[in-house]
Assembly symmetry: C2
Amino acid sequence: MSVTARDVARVAGVSISTVSRALAKPDEVAPATRARVLDTARGMGYLPNPAARGLITGRTSTIGLIVPDLENPFFAAVTKGVQSRARAAGYCVIVADSDEDPSQEEDLARTMSKRVDGIVLCSPRAPDSVIAQLALECRLVLVNRACGDIPAVAINNLMGISQAMGHLLALGHRKIAYVGGPATSWSNTARLASLQVVAAEHPNLDLVDLGSFQPYVSGGIAAADLVIVSEATAVVAYNDLVAFGLLDRLRHRGFRVPDDISVVGIDNIPMSELTFPSLTSVGIPLVNCGRAGVDLLLGFVRDPSTPPTHHHDLSFRLVVRESTGPVRASPALHATA
Amino acid sequence: MSVTARDVARVAGVSISTVSRALAKPDEVAPATRARVLDTARGMGYLPNPAARGLITGRTSTIGLIVPDLENPFFAAVTKGVQSRARAAGYCVIVADSDEDPSQEEDLARTMSKRVDGIVLCSPRAPDSVIAQLALECRLVLVNRACGDIPAVAINNLMGISQAMGHLLALGHRKIAYVGGPATSWSNTARLASLQVVAAEHPNLDLVDLGSFQPYVSGGIAAADLVIVSEATAVVAYNDLVAFGLLDRLRHRGFRVPDDISVVGIDNIPMSELTFPSLTSVGIPLVNCGRAGVDLLLGFVRDPSTPPTHHHDLSFRLVVRESTGPVRASPALHATA
DNA sequence: TTGTATGCGTTATCAT
DNA sequence: ATGATAACGCATACAA
């Protein structure tokens, strides 16, 4: 079938173990023979069989990645970061999409656990108990989710949200609504908590929690009318997709953004500068989150004694665009809503 | 380390091969012992080691996927389709991102070739010679690219483009520009060719090829001014991202869409209905393309004698939105441009 | 029906 | 510095 170390050994006139050493431990073999082995190996197109190697070394040079939805720009960015970092470190990536179904996360992890050296679990929807159990069965690193002492890349939502709220407060907004994501979402909890921290620091700020919505455009569309009724002059959305839904529905309802209502998204996905009006959004260094996840994971793979450090020095930035503006002098519009 | 078939065998009081059979060939073992083995196996959390199994069977139950850019919505959709179909068939997916670099495609394919049963190569940028060589080294299925007799999922651009052109012609457009993608892109060649086929059928239609641009928003921004100068009343973009760039730049140049110029994208990515104006686009069933790629690949993996069938009965649909409208009676605007 | 023995391709251990 | 050999965990041909 394929060319093996045995073939190379025969052609090069050496033993099979010399072939193995010539590739893995170059300094344990004489320069002359090493050159000869390497040449014939390259000439024959020899590549070690990862399965055979993994069987004896116990390592696969492959890591796993589980995300809720590959088509979601948020996870696409993380995936890109994971893949690029893994490749740079000589690892392959097995990726799985749970389709936003918490119960699939467990199955997917178990299915791939034997094929990988560790798994990056991104924004898992499963309960803590399941995650903790999984961490016992395989090496695990969490991204955008905290759970016990499991190593994780935590997104510091407070930092970004503070920037966004500072921006809105400076524009004169005093009643701000939050359109939340899934109640089970760790990010949603963290974002809401961050908003409340900021609100606690500003007694004259009225924070209105409008509840949970689907984390897609449809969720924003569903929430828009509640925003209008709330009489808030600004709204922070769970993510950019939700913000797009708000933008769309608000326009169809005859509300102008930002003249009547300001809208802020979170994630700053590439599309956010292309909507009309373009979307003010809190940028999260997602690709770097993916990279950080791999770094954390490979730290354990290579040196299992590494303490479960939580990695979270990621830089945010608020990108102000057209969807936010100052509060109008007389917000009479709401009276008629 | 982990629980092996040996452990299960000892606990269940049978031989190691009975364990193997109980899981792989249920009817070659007595119902009683099978039940006992299966029970203890489940109780101990036994999962066969894929590396060991693959070493002897030669199959890995894993397929590879190589795309130019995971963050591009086009490829994200294909990836989603590949992953979902593979999982349904009991396969894992190793995914790699070539970062739009043709030379990386070759490396990535070779790196993963020994770990997978076959590779889905999506929209490769590499020359035919490289692809052909790769097809000799591993089982390959192409998506959105044709190359010799290599099995491929071809996107029938003509079908979708005909619909789009029919739409524009019906609106009265007679001078239509095309903002192309990379010259080396197979889709770009196919799309331009399709446009020319349609043009040949309509002698009174003036098709203007504006040349090649980056397949991103930046490309559309770069092309917008050329569109204006061309005096075309409608423009077809290589893809939706390019169309977004056109929309953005045209607006900043003071042109109204669709009043002054109609814009049509290709791909119909989710964001297209959220721009302003929303984008008329030719929808390509990308997720299905990914699925079809996997079907084609697994066909060969399971039965190598399958003839290299080209699979291309995918359904398109033109989604008409706000960015296209009838030609104005007196297109005076262009005179001043 | 079940157990025994061999081999997949590689790395690791030991001997030379 | 190099070669022979065992072992990794499993599937399979063959024996019982």
